[in-house]
Assembly symmetry: C2
Homo-oligomer: 316 residues x 2
Amino acid sequence: MSVLVVGSVAYDTVVTSAGSREDALGGSATFFSVSCSFFTQVGLVAVVGDDFRKEDVQLLKTRGIDTSGLDQTEGKTFRWSGVYDTEDVNTRTTLDTQLNVFSGFSPKLTIKQRKTPYVFLANIDPDLQMSVLKQVEDKPKLLALDTMNYWISGKNRSLRRVVQEIDVLFIDEAEVRELANEVNLVQAARKIMDSGPSVVVVKRGDHGLLLFHNNSTFVAPAFPLERVIDPTGAGDSFAGGFLGYLASSNDLSPESFRRAAVLGSVMGSFAVESFSLDRLMSVTHSEIEGRFREFSQLSQFMPLDDDETLPWRSYT
Amino acid sequence: MSVLVVGSVAYDTVVTSAGSREDALGGSATFFSVSCSFFTQVGLVAVVGDDFRKEDVQLLKTRGIDTSGLDQTEGKTFRWSGVYDTEDVNTRTTLDTQLNVFSGFSPKLTIKQRKTPYVFLANIDPDLQMSVLKQVEDKPKLLALDTMNYWISGKNRSLRRVVQEIDVLFIDEAEVRELANEVNLVQAARKIMDSGPSVVVVKRGDHGLLLFHNNSTFVAPAFPLERVIDPTGAGDSFAGGFLGYLASSNDLSPESFRRAAVLGSVMGSFAVESFSLDRLMSVTHSEIEGRFREFSQLSQFMPLDDDETLPWRSYT
């Protein structure tokens, strides 16, 4: 298996401007692994309760995801519920979080899992992220991590410690400012890179992203969608496409990271077109490739040739 | 003269996270014409009071701007003062607006001005924008307009009427939603284009822009700046670079519009690097060209070749 994800598998109850869904399959590891599975083999480490539906395990298996790390235990599956702002898809309010079996989550990697070359530590307690990191025997080819404001304020020291050990940090715009204690995004990302990661990906929701990779910066808009049904899972689907591309191409050049970011955006843009994983489960290779090509067309403009100048005013 | 701008010339008092400035030269027509003057001849139609400083007229003349339409009249120059959010450069609060001589502004175009091929109706009362439009004899090559939420709510009918007559609408993200009464940006822009304009440029501050041009969409990120000193005038400097490029290249192809948008972003990114017009007055051709090239590098990624596929997972 070439990508390992450690994170949450959950049942989400969401209300968006397009409607609502109750107890729909969700969770960071779920969205990540389904998105990633288009490009490479994925193994998932997570915990669910005895109420976890058989068809949901089946759904993951359909996508060829290795579910041997999905621990089913006594109790209820992690539940999250939230409402999205009708005006701004980037804003949501959490109504309820029931950790349930997730409160006792203590990820244990098998010997095979410890040798996975690409590892994604989804948004969970930084202490758990660190415990996974310690189990990984040799340094993986790429170690990526996602987090959120909850941990930035609640477990700041633990988070900083684990961030020092990773290669790629996925983080929201407001969160990177908070973590670095710096308003300017460019400077905030640089500060974090000084502490360890060689790549910082600043996710800006429907405003695109910034990718800082050593000394190079990549800026990309978001794919402009006519309709957003449910923004849940967009970030994890992005990360899944991103790492899936890198693992599958096995190319860690700056050009490859840029493509990974665009493909991640494409996967995120599909994820939000339906509730839960519906759209990611129906999307085809040709639709993904089509949108990747469309993305290129949408964002391309004629650069200046080497000997070309801008049409300056001529003073006469 | 190839571009005409009708708008405000003002003295701004601003407080930003970088400091403050009192009675600094500003106004929509000012930022627009200075930015535009790099690329083509600009004439300015505006009104100022008898307190307007000689050196500020001189500044416009230094840039080769035709100030014969700058009416100096008894009273005080338009004054605006505001505070920018220290966290979010896209948000500002107006502290005070003193229309002064601007309250009696009734733009009268000379015969020469009526024949200008590119016209920019900066953000002023839509009734004044309509009165300018009626004075323009033949339809100009390109008629562009900027507006703001104040007019969308306060003079909605007048604004809708003038928008029907123009080619290019510059508008903020929240404003396009309000004007079209539609949350989704793509759909909002389409609704407005159905009413007349063939081009809608949605400005998203430091989140870039969306350019809708007939059936084609262009998305561009903003140039990532390490330091923003004063966001005042960014939108008008953007419009100045945009129309300056189109007028100077005299090319209204879709490719040309895309380049115009990128160059507009470049000009806006310089404008915010200092208070007032300081940076626009010091920036050189080579700096502008350098940033245009940097913008291409920052935003480019390898598209898929025609016969290339994404690295799909191989099932074995």
